[in-house]
């Protein structure tokens, strides 16, 4: 694999890649979708519900981009509105009530930038997911399967384990956005992608992700079987942690502490 960071970004955005619903359908059995945030509406960019993982009930939440032009438009290109994040939080709280683990699949260029999204509190919705997920009493595993666009991705990734597909990317800003803000030149996206350290290997190196999932047999039965096995065995491990919330706090607490100088100069 001699992919550059920016070619990874392009791979991550490829509409032929498996999307959230492909994972839901192929990794789990008996999925029942649950709609709506009970406050405003039902966001089509986030799909969530209950399902079985090897006979074990779990709550599954996925950002869905769609494959065809029609699907992508229906799913708002995987850019969630506040009601999507609120639906996700409702389902997580439900999972907590019934002791079900939560599995999230993340694939978004970012939370939607729009008038309605701002009117309904995009920032507040994301912020609330961050605080509430930090103390959720059931195991949470989040897998970045394509694009991990900033706060819109993080809002489903305050998890005990964060995994990334080999060609998934996770970034604070899109390379194009970074290049146009910093260098006033969107064509420098290639350089920005390299500087932002957004690949799966980078994320693992920074302690942001624990595992990189190989894309061998991507989209085939063997691939989904492998993900199912990985999830099952990891839930087994997490089930033994008697202080899940404390461990999750420490997981995020440690990020970036090595990047600061504490002495007074």
């Amino acid at each position: 694999m001699n992919e550059t960071p920016y070619s990874r970004v392009k791979l991550a955005r490829d509409s032929k890649r498996p999307t959230g619903l492909d994972y839901i359908t192929n990794v789990f059995a008996g999925f029942m979708e649950l709609h709506g945030d009970r406050r405003f509406g039902d966001d089509k960019a986030i799909v969530g519900g209950i399902a079985l993982l090897n006979d074990r009930p779990v709550t599954v939440i996925a950002i869905e981009k769609g494959h065809t032009a029609k699907e992508r438009s229906y799913r708002n290109f995987g850019a969630p509105h506040p009601e999507g994040y609120r639906k996700a939080l409702r389902l997580m709280k439900q999972a907590e009530k019934f002791g079900r683990p939560v599995i999230c699949f993340i694939d978004t260029s970012g939370a939607y930038c729009g008038i309605g999204a701002e009117e309904r509190g995009q920032g507040q919705a994301i912020g609330e997911n961050l605080t509430e997920m930090s103390t959720l009493c059931v195991p949470v595993i989040s897998i970045l399967i394509g694009e991990g666009g900033s706060g819109g991705a993080l809002a489903l990734a305050v998890a005990d384990r964060v995994w990334m597909l080999q060609n998934a990317v996770y970034s604070v800003i899109s390379p194009e956005g970074c290049a146009s803000i910093l260098w006033k030149d969107p064509s420098k996206a290639e350089e920005a992608a390299a500087s932002l350290k957004l690949t799966a290997e980078d994320a693992r190196g920074l302690g942001v992700a624990e595992r990189i999932i190989s894309e061998k047999d991507l989209g085939k039965k063997e691939f989904y079987d492998r993900i199912r096995d990985l999830l099952s065995s990891e839930l087994e491990t997490l089930g033994k942690d008697t202080d899940l919330v404390g461990s999750r706090y420490e997981r995020f607490r440690s990020l970036g502490t090595g990047a600061v100088i504490k002495e007074r100069l």
């Binding site: 994301i126 990047a259 600061v260």
Partner: protein, 286 residues
């Protein structure tokens, strides 16, 4: 004192009975032009009025100026003053940029933390600095805020915060993004300990800061006319190709849509915050 008094603008320029319109052209006195009413105001008079124009426009304030205005004289003790970011990703130009900004702003980082008293009430205080890379949040800002909330839990103190930020600092990439989760988790621990957090949103508060601790206060206040939002207005216009409604992402817009508790002019902030701290000081152990 009726609560409404905290929310009504109190303008010293007008209270003094002086009309603000014909500004005395004192030779040599530096002036500042108000972006709202276009009048030139002598800097000394602007200062006497807490950097608020007689038209109500709130000028940006440096973090240390704000601390001196909001905390009781001589009570503020800074915490973690030397804590600052390195260049964890070796991002091109970042080290040079921070060095320049440190020299220009006189600050090590984009937030100042400490303890102090406001109207005699002890609290932890953080104030973000717009003159340091527009208050952007990197690892150092995240670490300082997390430490402050943890300190507040240990000492059972409320937290008072003033936000101003362009969002996460992109030169620290994913580590900046992770600070949103890290600080939010610390805010949650503080909240679960039954402790009070009041945040004042000032111009501008956007991006990753809006999508984390700016929106996580028990009480959320905002300065008049401050821009507060998640996505930048220009990005929204480009994405939606629709004209933005009047007053979009201003404090008043957020109040209207239910995301801030009150808009409080600068002159009334200290009295209201000390009132809120008093109200919440008698809370017993949860």
């Amino acid at each position: 004192m009726a609560l409404i008094n905290f929310l009504k603008p109190k303008n010293k320029l007008e209270e003094g009975g002086r009309t603000a319109a014909p500004v005395q052209q004192d030779a040599g006195e530096p002036e500042k032009s108000c972006p709202n009413c276009r009048r030139n105001i002598p800097v000394s008079r602007l200062w006497a009025n807490g950097l608020v124009c007689s038209c109500g426009y709130h000028f940006r304030m440096k973090a240390r100026q704000r601390i001196s205005v909001i905390s009781d004289r001589g009570t503020f003790k800074e915490l973690y003053p030397g804590l600052k970011a390195q260049n964890p990703l070796d991002f091109p130009g970042y080290s040079e940029k921070t060095e320049t900004v440190r020299l220009a702003s006189g600050e090590e980082e984009a937030v100042i933390c400490g303890t102090g008293e406001i109207g005699g009430e002890s609290c932890c205080l953080f104030v973000m600095e717009s003159y340091f890379m527009m208050g952007s949040m990197g690892s150092a800002v995240g670490e300082k805020l997390t430490m402050l909330f943890e300190y507040a839990v240990e000492r059972r103190l409320p937290v008072v915060g003033f936000t101003v930020s362009g969002g996460a600092r992109m030169q620290e990439g994913l580590l900046s993004l992770m600070q949103m989760a890290k600080v939010s988790a610390a805010v949650k621990r503080h909240s679960d300990a039954g402790l009070f957090y009041v945040v004042v949103l000032t111009d501008p508060t956007t991006g990753g800061v809006t999508a984390s601790f700016a929106m996580e206060g028990d009480v959320i206040l905002a300065e008049p006319g401050a821009t507060v939002g998640f996505a930048g207005a220009r990005v929204i216009e480009q994405t939606t190709k629709k004209p933005l409604p009047k007053g979009f992402q201003k404090s008043e817009f957020l109040l209207e849509h239910g995301f801030v508790d009150a808009i409080v002019p600068r002159a009334n902030q200290k009295a209201l915050i000390s009132y809120l701290l008093k109200i919440h000081s008698g809370r017993s152990e949860p």
